[in-house]
């Protein structure tokens, strides 16, 4: 509770900017976690079956691009608020 009051005072009463900045940080965390999990499964798959390495790599890159798209929606909308 006190932390919120301190934050409110620091931003000069402009909760909107603070919210947008927090939103961008959360989007970055989410993208990192999601794409990290993709990378983990891809590396596990390649370790189990090295012949399928190039198929797995293509799938990993496509999935990473799609999930990064979602994270970038959040960044674009927060950018408009900022």
């Amino acid at each position: 509770m006190d932390l919120l009051f301190v934050l409110l005072q620091v931003t000069g009463g402009d909760i909107g900017t603070l919210g947008a900045a927090l939103g961008i940080g959360l989007a970055a965390i989410a993208a990192g976690v999601g794409i990290g999990k993709i990378g983990q499964s891809a590396v596990d798959g390649i370790a189990r079956q090295p012949e399928a390495a190039s198929d797995i790599r293509t799938t990993m890159i496509i999935s990473a691009a799609l999930i990064e798209g979602v994270a970038l929606f959040a960044i674009v909308v927060s950018g408009f608020i900022l």
Binding site: L66, G69, L72, F73, I75, V76
Partner: protein, 368 residues
């Protein structure tokens, strides 16, 4: 190892020495204006009525581009944009600095009302789109002519590379995703791929013919997404629309409140919307990162020469790394756009369930 330190250590020291000399020379110059990073980056990312080729302290080479306006009161106007550059006004038109029409040409009528005329100018993005379309047409028609002359020989060089690209997109993206009548859609999908790829690459080039942020402009990606939307929906089969408006789900989801049809109808629009935002945000974010890293050099000028030199070295190394990432992103975004468009077209060509086994996307076998 010790020989390497001796060999390269001197080189690194020399580079830092030269860098520090140039920095101190700049600090003694009298012109030190306030550096507004956000404005600088937004200026580079957004569209403008002239094309800046060189703009350092000494030279200012700017290419003025044609401005084509139609105002309701005074008809058509054609002039070059240097008449309205730097805040000057011409025939009642000027580039507005207010935040509602920032950077665009507005007309001040005699009554004092400020409004936007119909603006069909050749702005920087429009010229860059024309240039990249010209490059694309030259490339593709040239390759097609060479391949038509000698259809059975393997080609080397540029033609061979284009053949590899086209074959990869056709076999890995279009055929599996679209299904049976993929031949009808290959021109559209290949055009989309090469158009986005070439525009992304030209946006990364820092000097004159490139460097205009076309695919990072939401209007351009909006048009691409609308084109995909039209192709998907205008060639959709009856079974596709039936599955949207009367899907094969339990009756209570459809009748009193059409929940499932509403969701499916909204998804018709969110899929191209996602395509648009994905391409726009990826390319714009990449350009913004590169520009931000560049301005680090100028922001640390006032903090002293050691910090400036080290931040310059750090910034240049990061920028090179981000440039490689941006090259990869340029290809991946074009690939993902094409892949998703092909998937949507394939989903729209669905026939009845019984026929699907023989005609759907699973019907194409590719011999690897």
């Amino acid at each position: 190892m010790r020989q390497k330190i001796e060999k390269y250590g001197l080189l690194v020291l020399m580079m830092l020495f030269y860098a520090s000399i140039s920095v101190t020379a700049q600090e003694n110059s009298p012109m030190q204006e306030e550096l507004n990073v956000k404005e600088l980056i937004l200026d580079h990312l957004s569209d403008s009525y002239d094309w800046q080729i060189v703009n350092n302290g000494q030279w200012d080479i700017t290419l003025p581009l044609p401005v084509i306006l139609y105002s309701k009161t005074s008809g058509w106007h054609f002039f070059l944009s240097d008449r309205v550059s730097h805040g000057s006004s011409f025939n009642g038109f000027r580039i507005s600095a207010e935040s509602s029409y920032k950077g665009k040409i507005v007309e001040t009528a005699t009554s004092g009302v400020v409004s936007r005329p119909l603006d069909l100018s050749m702005t920087r993005n429009a010229c860059s789109l024309l240039l990249s379309s010209f490059v694309l047409i030259l490339m593709v028609l040239g390759v097609a002519r060479v391949m038509k002359r000698k259809p059975m020989e393997g080609q080397g060089g540029f033609v061979g590379m284009m053949e590899l690209f086209i074959q990869m997109i056709c076999d890995d993206v279009i055929k599996p995703a679209v299904g049976k009548d993929y031949q009808r859609y290959t021109p559209f999908l290949l055009t989309i791929f090469f158009f986005i790829f070439i525009n992304n690459l030209l946006g990364l080039v820092p000097f004159f013919p490139g460097g205009a942020n076309t695919t990072g402009n939401i209007a351009v990606t909006l048009v691409l997404a609308v084109t995909t939307f039209l192709v998907v929906n205008l060639t959709g089969t009856k079974a596709y629309f039936r599955e949207i408006f009367w899907p094969d789900v339990p009756l209570w989801l459809k009748v009193p409140l059409p929940i499932m049809p509403a969701i499916e109808f909204v998804s018709l629009f969110t899929k191209p919307f996602a395509l648009m935002i994905r391409l726009f945000a990826n390319i714009m974010a990449g350009h913004a990162i590169v520009l931000g890293l560049t301005t680090i050099i100028f922001m640390t000028v006032s903090l002293g020469s050691t910090i400036n030199t080290s931040m310059t070295a750090v910034s240049v190394i990061f920028m090179i790394f981000i440039y490689f990432v941006e090259l990869l992103v340029a290809f991946i975004q074009a690939y993902v756009f094409t892949l998703l468009s092909a998937v949507f077209i394939g989903l729209a060509r669905v026939r009845n369930r019984e026929e699907n086994k023989n005609n759907g996307p699973e019907a194409i076998h590719i011999n690897k």
